[in-house]
């Protein structure tokens, strides 16, 4: 990712955009922060917020005409927040180092004094040339200002270095201005306006007058606007002294439209509590401040457990990921975050600007692979699984007795591994209804894509396309929307359709009873961009007489079950929380049409059926009854399915069993769960035991139990076991590591 790509991502996420109050304030006071501080009773913090934004905070805090109240989102839900009435704070001066530049302001009212205040903060030596008494001018503005308040402000200006000097009535403005490096005239003081006759601001951005170094502004009915022009004028003075452009990059100095989005559709109206004539007391100010909606976007974060996990939002994540990729030495602390995104695309479909964590994280993964910085543990289990699905777990056949295919049924790994019993009746049904349907068991390549392994993905796609062409380029019918998504994105020459759109147009098979109670329908994330598939599923459900409820986030806004993007491989605790959050959204039983979603919701303890469970029920089995199929069972079921179909449909001899496959493992539930948790598949255990017996390489604990190890590729597996005779072994424990033990222990 280069800088410009980072900028493109950052630009899309609007979470850091200012709230409406701040964007519309001519001085950009952060009203959201102010309300938060006041509502919480943190008044010192509130003072700092005001002081940071406002020149003459004592005065403006009391008399601001609060243009922020108009765009305030609360205005649409009861009434804008009375920010102006909340500012009743005390300020103290501080010494500011001087930078040696000598400038002046002319006029003793809001605009010139605001300019002076800003000039002092910029380090200028500021002379305030007065025509009338500032105290008199300011007191005339509003009866909210008392002599004490105004004097405090004037004292502060003097304390930080402002020099008050009457404007010499006998001299021309030009002449006086020549004493200083630059001059700002505040036109809201009558004397200054008179002296400046003929010196009008020519440009509303810079307030320049046609006399170099002479700026003028403040001729506005709005107090806050007068002060804002003072600020604008002082920025021009600074730019003038630096020789910088007076115009460039000043678009957001005055009020502007924020790009922030805040959903207020669920916000109940709450009218303001008006300030009494003497102003708010503490309780009143807190109550009013608490009405602030604390505007922010967070639309994607609110709905995504993954985005919540790292306590930020996409713009911040884009920066973190960019930094992570740029690290040469030191810890890459964002690796896990990058690998934990489910790549489901929900955020980009919710975001007003289409920010895509999927593009961000997938791009980052590809870059990590290219840099050889991808943690090996993140994805290799899934990639091994994919390799198995595309070797011993694969099957490609024309329909029995046929030598050509118009269609190929592509069930996908998870249906084959999660509900193998469904495949044969479903395939037979399709063959019955459609002429020339072949069968294709293999992996679509999604794991390689998700892992950022473009090399593996490209070669898998090449093989897939070759196999498809070898069958006469038939239309592929996928049961899994994930497979369909891959084919539609990356195998454009393959015509691929969803099983659900195919089934929708057929008389449905005779099926068993469906639940009388409604079920909540979960759309898999891979169907989010397939409205035709989602509609077909709903049609089929209604044909079956299934009553459905939609989940809060459904259709194109649906969320992932925790499998997508190999989230579960990279971050299992997070994936568990993702599934748990989804199944808690509705107390009803769930219905879905993705084998992986069904499996993971079952794992999360939710009664969840696959739509195929109702169309092709297994005799005597409750559709909701199938337990979670772990990684070992999925692999074993996939291989068994290939064997079963070869025998039943094509009368073929099965691949000969490998010797280790006949080993029988005996283990209790706790060991089974341990193996599942540690992703140690039973086939590996059998292979290990077979090798240990064959070579005799094991460790004898002297009590009839042994320990042996095997390193088939990147992981060393250890098993503690007790031989039971006749090829049966009790497994007592198993563990693994990636570190390589060199032969340092061997004696010469």
């Amino acid at each position: 990712m280069d800088q410009s790509e980072l900028r493109r991502f950052e630009e899309l996420c609007i979470q850091e955009e200012p709230p409406w109050c701040q964007a519309s304030c001519p001085l950009h006071l952060d009203g959201r922060a102010l309300c938060r501080s006041v509502a919480d009773g943190r008044f010192a913090e509130a003072r700092r917020t005001i002081e940071k934004a406002l020149p003459l905070p004592e005065i403006l805090g009391r008399i601001c005409d609060a243009p922020c109240m108009i765009p305030c989102l609360r205005a649409r839900r009861g009434g804008g927040i009375a920010l102006g009435d909340q500012k009743n704070m005390v300020f103290s001066g501080s010494l500011i180092p001087k930078n040696g530049r000598s400038i002046a302001v002319a006029g003793g009212s809001l605009s010139a004094l605001a300019a002076a205040s800003d000039g002092l903060r910029k380090g200028f030596s500021v002379t305030i040339l007065t025509f009338e008494e500032p105290l008199t001018l300011l007191l005339a503005l509003s009866d909210r200002l008392t002599p004490e308040v105004v004097q405090r402000e004037l004292n502060w200006l003097a304390a930080v270095g402002a020099v008050f000097r009457p404007f010499p009535a006998d001299r021309a403005l030009d002449d006086v201005a020549s004493e200083f490096e630059a001059l700002y005239i505040g036109l809201d003081a009558p004397g200054a306006a008179a002296a400046a006759r003929g010196v009008a601001p020519l440009d509303p951005v810079s307030l320049e007058t046609g006399h170099p170094g002479l700026f003028a502004g403040g001729d506005s009915p709005s107090f806050i606007q007068r002060a804002a022009e003072g600020r604008r004028g002082m920025i021009s003075v600074e730019r003038f002294l630096q020789g910088a452009s007076l115009h460039s990059g000043r678009e957001k100095e005055g009020p502007f439209e924020t790009r922030l989005f805040t959903d207020i559709s669920d916000v109940a109206p709450l009218p303001p509590s008006p300030a009494p004539p003497e102003g708010y007391d503490v309780a009143g100010a807190k109550e009013e401040a608490a009405r602030c909606l604390q505007c922010q976007c967070m639309e994607c974060v609110k709905r995504c457990v993954y985005l919540q996990e790292y306590r930020g939002y996409p713009k911040r994540y884009a920066r973190e990921i960019y930094n992570n990729l740029a690290i040469v030495q030191g810890s890459r602390t964002s690796n896990r975050m990058i690998n934990s995104c489910s790549l489901c695309g929900q955020c980009e479909r919710i975001c007003p600007n289409g920010f895509s964590m999927r593009d961000l994280c997938l791009g980052a993964r590809r870059e990590m692979v290219r840099q050889n910085r991808m943690p090996p543990s993140a994805h290799d289990f899934a990639l091994e699984d994919m390799a198995l699905s595309n070797s011993t777990g694969a099957l490609l056949r024309h329909a029995p007795g046929r030598e050509a295919s118009s269609y190929l049924f592509f069930p996908g790994c998870h249906l084959a591994g999660g509900s193998p019993g469904t495949i044969a009746p479903l395939y037979d049904f399709l063959r019955d209804r459609i002429d020339g349907v072949g069968l294709w068991l293999r992996c679509c390549g999604a794991p390689a894509r998700w892992a950022g392994r473009e090399d593996l993905f490209d070669s898998a796609m090449e093989e897939l396309k070759e196999q498809w062409a070898s069958m006469g380029s038939p239309t592929v019918i996928t049961a899994c929307t994930g497979c369909l998504d891959v084919l539609r994105r990356d195998a454009l020459e393959i015509e691929a359709v969803s099983l659900w759109t195919v089934l929708k147009d057929m008389p449905l098979p005779p099926h068993g009873p469906v639940p009388g109670e409604p079920m909540a329908l979960h759309d898999p994330c891979t169907a989010a961009e397939m409205s035709d598939v989602r509609a077909a599923v709903r049609d089929i459900c209604s044909s079956l007489g299934i009553a459905m409820e939609e989940l809060p986030e459904t259709g194109e806004r649906t969320s992932c079950c925790g499998f997508g993007g190999l989230q579960r491989n990279a971050n299992e605790p997070l994936a568990d929380r993702v599934a748990a959050a989804r199944v808690e959204e509705n107390p009803r039983d769930y219905l879905t049409y993705c084998a992986m979603c069904r499996n993971l919701f079952a794992r999360a303890g939710k009664r969840t059926a696959h739509l195929l469970d109702f169309l092709f029920p297994e005799a005597g089995k409750d559709s909701f009854d199938r337990p979670y199929a772990g990684c070992s069972r999925q692999r074993d079921d996939r291989l068994a399915l290939v064997r079963a179909l070869q025998s039943s449909h094509w009368m073929e001899e099965n691949r000969p069993m490998e010797p280790h496959e006949s080993i029988v493992l005996v283990m209790d539930d706790s060991v089974l769960a341990l193996l599942e948790k540690r992703r140690i598949v039973h086939d590996t255990v059998k292979r290990l035991l077979f090798e240990a017996e064959r070579t005799g390489a094991s460790m004898d604990r002297g009590d009839g139990t042994f320990i042996a190890s095997l390193r088939p590729s990147l992981v060393t597996y250890w098993v503690e076991y007790r031989p039971l005779g006749d090829g049966r072994y009790e497994v007592l424990g198993a563990w693994s590591h990636r570190m390589v033990v060199t032969e340092g222990g061997r004696r010469p």
Partner: protein, 70 residues
């Protein structure tokens, strides 16, 4: 990474092939270019090394994770 394994615990374990009791042995383990030395039970005859569960799933896993994020 020395003394990470309670070697006493494996005192009674023998190498099935060589019939030798395992002995604490300085062993090199490597990952992603980093090398560590640790005392592990090993067969004094054939050199076969035992990596106990508590080491593999404890400190070793921690170090693997740290190295993977380097």
């Amino acid at each position: 990474m020395t003394a990470l394994v309670d070697l006493e615990k494996y005192a009674g374990v023998t190498c099935t092939r060589c019939r030798c009791p395992l002995e604490p042995t300085k062993t090199e383990i490597t990952y992603l270019g980093s090398v560590f030395t640790v005392d592990l039970p090993a067969c004094p005859s054939c050199g076969m090394v035992l990596v106990p569960e508590e080491l593999a799933m404890g400190k070793m896993l921690d170090v693997e994770k740290i190295l993977e994020d380097k």
